[in-house]
């Protein structure tokens, strides 16, 4: 597999470590009411689509970027690759 790193160009998937669903970016606030339920859903409820899936990959043998890779789970086609920090900021995450 090849992942087209936004900064470094095409890199072999062996350089990366896979984490999982990119929905992990949306971590709930632990100090709010009902945090246990929110964290339960956040941590344990995942979609398992046959098709496009957004997922977090880490370029461990490279520049240490966390990436959001959109991959088709049926064909393994990599549809897009984004810097996870940019995605997180777009989702409103900050400090």
């Amino acid at each position: 597999m090849i992942i087209n790193h936004p900064l470094l160009g095409p890199r072999d998937a062996q350089e990366f470590v896979y984490l999982g669903d990119a929905s992990l970016i949306g971590r709930p606030d632990g100090m709010t009411e009902g945090a246990v339920d929110a964290f339960h859903d956040y941590l344990y409820l995942r979609d398992n689509p046959a098709g496009e899936h957004r997922e977090l990959w880490y370029h461990e043998q490279g520049d240490r970027s966390w990436l959001v890779v959109t991959r088709n789970t049926v064909t393994h086609e990599v549809v897009s690759v984004e810097i996870a920090r940019d995605v997180a900021r777009k989702m409103g995450r900050s400090k």
Binding site: V17, I25, H40, L43, Y58, W66, V78
Partner: protein, 983 residues
């Protein structure tokens, strides 16, 4: 022995003779021969015994699809089983042996199986060895294992080396026949980066086995000329002896190059084979086609071959497999085989053509509408029985028969990503479908374009198309004149005659009857057919047999072939040696080895090392006279507790954390608080996973307002760093915090024991008195008159202790300086065993307790999880299920009888309870012998443990067969008040 079957012509070098042996008998051949062609030239047709029935077998093919002629090559450590004689290049001194026979190839005692064949049909194992189950392990499995398998291993280390390599190209061309050469030439001339790979040792593919002309040259000469031009192009890499094994995602292909298989011993510095990973932008499959047989009774005798193989042996290798031949065909290519063989001066006794309406062939006995219904001959073919169109039969004495049931495009690679082949009625064969690997197209015979002209034409055009997709304009080569005969075939899969066995898959002894039985027993899908009959398994993966079996099943079910299903292939295309897959990663190079800065010193001291992840750490350092490890470890522990000990702790992960938000960041990733830590202070930190389980622990020091140094456990250094980057980039992208791993930048030593300060005072330039540098202090200091260093007053052993870090390049000098300075205190250097003993004595958790299943509460550290701030794992650590009163708690354990030794992994079972899982109260995580207490001690997780101090309970280990009564005590065996470490 003379080469009695050698005839004129062929692409072998007759000026040189190569001597070789087969089953101890001497033969000769020529450069350009394969083992099979050379044996056939010497009149040897019998090369092996079949897997199940031990039937005598010879080769049926001339290439890598060969199911029968599997031999053992070489001897000693280089002995290599199950090598196909048809692709083994002959070299001087080659030793080959037949397999699966005893005592000899011509007389094989196990051929008794052949007489028992009515019992050994499809599904035999499933039906016979099912009952009683108790006999499986003792009787059936050993019996089957003994009978199974073909070759044997040398059981010695492989003396050769294997490499791995990486290649990149615009266009990968798989197969160097006419279409592959045309494609490579088209792309090469256009300047594209091209790799042309072929499993053969020479380029040209079938052109070398044919008499067909291309332009004014013979096909073989055209191949030589084309390859010669390609060699001059710097953008083209020609790879002979290279098999493309598989197609993977995104244009990646694997290949094995047999660099030295054709030599007795690899040349100096050369590997035996190279496993290549090829990154291609586009690829063209030009792997040709594989002929398929027609099944008839006793069609497996040595001498009966695929017609195209018979033709190849004659044309390419100058070998007449027999001196009286016949050809059995259902298509025009079989007719070509008969004519080619006759043109070579071989007696073609008959051309048996199943097509009653076939155009008459003059000059030989053309039996139209006939079928071969049987054969005779004990160890080789002596005659065939032919049924004429009028129903009469004729027995024709022949010693070789070519069979052609048509050709199957070699689409193997195109189906590696579940690409489904599609049926083409015009050629009565499957061709690659449109759903093959992205970027791969097929040309030539592999795409069903069988004529030479069509091969050249499609190869050229597919190359133009592939390059156009990459934005490279390529001009098609001028297609030379070549034959363009249409395919004429009337499919027939097996001859309906006789009660005997007609073989489909000769490697696995699968017959037409077996397919019928599978059908009768409702194993009708292609996948079931394969598993039930073993059709298409083993080294050849059914390259000559799968379609035949499928077509017969289609007939039995009354459905057309495409509706019956298709078989698809998986990598590897041909068997690969484990050595090639392993490459250099074997023995001590299986994984990288990381050495600490004191390694050289420790080696000089005769230290015993232990693998900790990739690191080698000193486990203990034996002194003269010590005969057991315990003696060394007990001495190291005692000396440390009595005076001072030194230990290399470089392997612990070190992460520098800086930025204005560094404190906030640490509060988020640690369960406890770090933003309040004073400058020049160290704190123990507990890191949770988001699910509330403990991930790692360690100390973190605050060197300045915005500067921290975190330590992790050795095992988790990499995962923790990854996790911190995740938190920093993904969860809180705007925190001002920077990370860098400094594990390898600092050599770090623990100095522990009552005399630790006195020892360090000799080396440290600053005041480190208890007042100036109290417990849990840290700071940037200098040693030995100015070398920058970091000092941390932390203790894992429970003693007065420091960790001192110097830049790695001074690590060797530092250990020597510490040992020298320690001489007056009788300082010891201790290893990981003594470290473990002292941390258990002190009740500190380590890897055995941080087992990925335990919470802070389990470890007795529940109060460390601050609920005043949000941190990773804080919320879910409060889940009800993790907070039960009877949950596991860390306890200390000592035997009631101090002379008893505890066993790690033993489970707690209360007195009077039976030893079953329902009564399991927890287990011993860490067990050591404490030289200070004089008995075995342990840490363990016990249900409701903190309320059970003083209780007596049994620890039972059913594997070690031990049972010891113990008392539950506090995990702090030594200095529970912590007076020593504050001294």
């Amino acid at each position: 022995m003379t080469q009695i079957r050698r005839i004129s012509g062929g692409r072998i070098d007759r000026s040189k003779t190569l001597n070789f042996t087969f089953d101890g008998k001497a033969y000769s051949g020529h450069p350009g021969d394969t083992l099979a062609s050379a044996l056939l030239a010497n009149g040897v047709q019998l090369m092996g015994r079949s897997f199940k029935y031990h039937r005598p077998r010879g080769p049926i093919a001339s290439g890598s699809e060969e199911p029968n002629a599997l031999v053992e090559l070489r001897n000693g450590a280089r002995q290599e089983p199950n090598t196909r004689a048809t692709v083994a290049e002959l070299f001087e001194g080659l030793e080959a042996k037949s397999q699966n026979r005893w005592p000899s190839l011509s007389f094989d005692a196990m051929s008794i199986n052949d007489r028992l064949s009515s019992f050994l049909t499809a599904g035999f194992y499933y039906k016979t060895f099912m009952w009683p189950a108790s006999l499986w392990e003792k009787l059936y499995e050993p019996l089957i294992r003994h009978a199974a398998g073909l070759g044997s291993l040398s059981k010695q280390d492989d003396p050769d080396s294997y490499d791995k390599g990486f290649l990149h190209c615009d266009l990968l061309v798989i197969g160097a026949g006419p279409s592959g050469l045309a494609a490579a030439l088209t792309a090469g001339r256009a300047g594209a980066r091209v790799i042309l790979a072929d499993e053969d040792f020479t380029f040209g593919g079938r052109l070398n086995a044919e008499t067909l002309a291309i332009g004014s040259d013979s096909g073989a000469d055209w191949a030589v000329k084309t390859a010669a031009e390609l060699v001059t192009l710097p953008n083209v890499r020609l790879m002979s002896r290279t098999t493309i094994l598989g197609a993977f995602d995104h244009g990646i292909y694997s290949a094995v190059e047999r660099v030295s298989d054709h030599l007795a011993v690899p040349m100096d510095g050369k590997p035996r084979q190279i496993l290549w990973r090829i990154y291609s932008k586009r690829a063209i499959l030009t792997a040709g086609a594989i002929e398929r047989p027609i099944a008839f009774e006793n069609n497996d005798r040595p001498g009966i071959m695929l017609a195209g193989a018979l033709r190849a042996y004659a044309n390419r290798w100058g070998v007449a497999v027999g001196d009286r031949l016949a050809v059995f065909t259902n298509n025009d290519d079989g007719v070509r085989s008969a004519l080619d063989l006759q043109a070579k001066g071989i007696n073609v006794e008959a051309l048996i053509d199943t097509r009653a309406n076939a155009a008459t062939v003059n000059g030989l006995r053309h039996i139209r509408g006939g079928e071969v219904v049987n054969s005779s001959g004990r160890l080789g073919l002596t005659s065939i029985t032919v049924r004429m169109a009028n129903g009469g039969t004729d027995i024709i004495p022949v010693n070789a028969l070519g069979v052609s049931g048509g050709w199957n495009p070699n689409l193997n690679i195109a189906s590696h990503q579940r690409g489904r082949p599609v049926w083409d009625d015009a050629i009565a064969a499957f061709v690659p479908g449109a759903d093959g690997p992205a970027g791969l197209s097929a040309a030539g015979a592999a795409s069903g374009a069988f004529s030479t002209h069509a091969a050249l034409q499609t190869g050229t055009m597919e190359a133009v198309k592939a390059l156009a997709a990459l934005g490279i304009a390529a001009k098609p080569i001028e297609i030379p004149k070549a034959e363009d005969a249409p395919v004429s075939i009337t499919p027939i899969w097996y001859v309906r005659s006789g009660k005997g066995r007609a073989w489909i898959d000769q490697q696995n002894d699968v017959t037409v009857k077996d397919v019928k039985l599978a059908h009768q027993e409702n194993f009708r899908s292609v996948e079931h057919l394969k598993r039930y009959t073993t059709l298409g398994m083993a080294t050849d993966q059914g390259k000559t047999s799968n379609i035949l079996g499928l077509a017969i099943m289609a007939e039995l079910t009354g459905k057309p072939i495409p509706d019956t299903g298709t078989t698809i292939y998986r990598p590897p295309y041909t068997p690969v040696a484990m050595g090639a897959l392993g490459g250099r990663s074997r023995g001590e190079h299986f994984k990288p080895t990381r050495l600490t800065p004191s390694h050289k010193w420790a080696t000089e001291q005769g230290a015993i090392f232990v693998e900790v992840g990739m690191w080698l750490r000193t486990q203990w350092v034996p002194k003269p006279g010590e005969t057991t490890w315990r003696q060394s470890v007990d001495r190291e522990v005692s000396a440390t507790r009595q005076s001072v000990g030194i230990c290399d702790v470089t392997t612990l992960g070190k992460i520098d954390i800086q930025g204005t938000d560094a404190g906030l960041f640490l509060d988020r990733v640690y369960a406890n608080t770090f933003s309040t830590l004073g400058f020049g202070k160290v704190r123990y930190g507990l890191m949770l996973r988001e699910d509330g389980i403990v991930m790692d622990d360690g100390t973190t020091a605050r060197l300045g307002e915005h500067e921290y140094v975190m330590t992790t456990t050795t095992a988790n250094a990499v995962p923790v760093f990854r996790h911190l980057e995740y938190c920093r980039q993904v969860l809180w992208p705007d925190l001002d915090v920077q990370l860098i791993s400094t594990t390898e930048a600092w050599a770090q030593y623990s100095v522990a024991g009552p005399n630790a300060r006195k020892l360090l005072e000799k080396l440290v330039d600053q005041d480190i008195s208890n007042e100036a540098f109290p417990y849990m202090a840290c700071g940037e200091i200098s040693v030995c008159g100015g070398l920058r260093a970091r000092l941390f007053r932390i203790s894992f052993s429970g003693e007065l202790a420091y960790e001192i870090a110097v830049p790695t390049r001074y690590g060797d000098a530092m250990i020597r300086a510490l040992v020298e300075a320690g001489q007056e205190f009788d300082a010891v250097v201790y290893g990981t065993e003594a470290l473990g003993v002292m941390r258990v004595e002190k009740g500190h958790v380590a890897g055995n307790e941080l087992n990925g299943q335990s919470t802070a509460l389990n470890m007795g550290l529940g109060k460390m999880v601050s609920k005043k701030k949000d941190s990773i794992g804080m919320v879910l650590s409060q889940r009800e299920g993790l907070n039960q009163d009877d949950g596991l708690r860390l306890v200390g354990v000592k035997p009631v009888d101090p002379s008893k030794l505890l066993t790690a992994g033993s489970h707690f079972i209360a007195h009077g309870k039976s030893t079953v899982a329902a009564h399991d109260d927890g287990w011993l995580t860490s067990v050591v012998f404490s030289p200070n207490l004089g008995h075995s001690i342990a840490l363990g997780y016990l249900k409701n443990g903190s309320a059970r101090l003083g209780e007596r309970i049994r620890t039972i280990n059913l594997l070690a067969k031990t049972e010891v009564e113990v008392e539950i005590v506090s995990p702090h065996f030594i200095d529970p008040e912590g007076e020593r470490l504050r001294a």
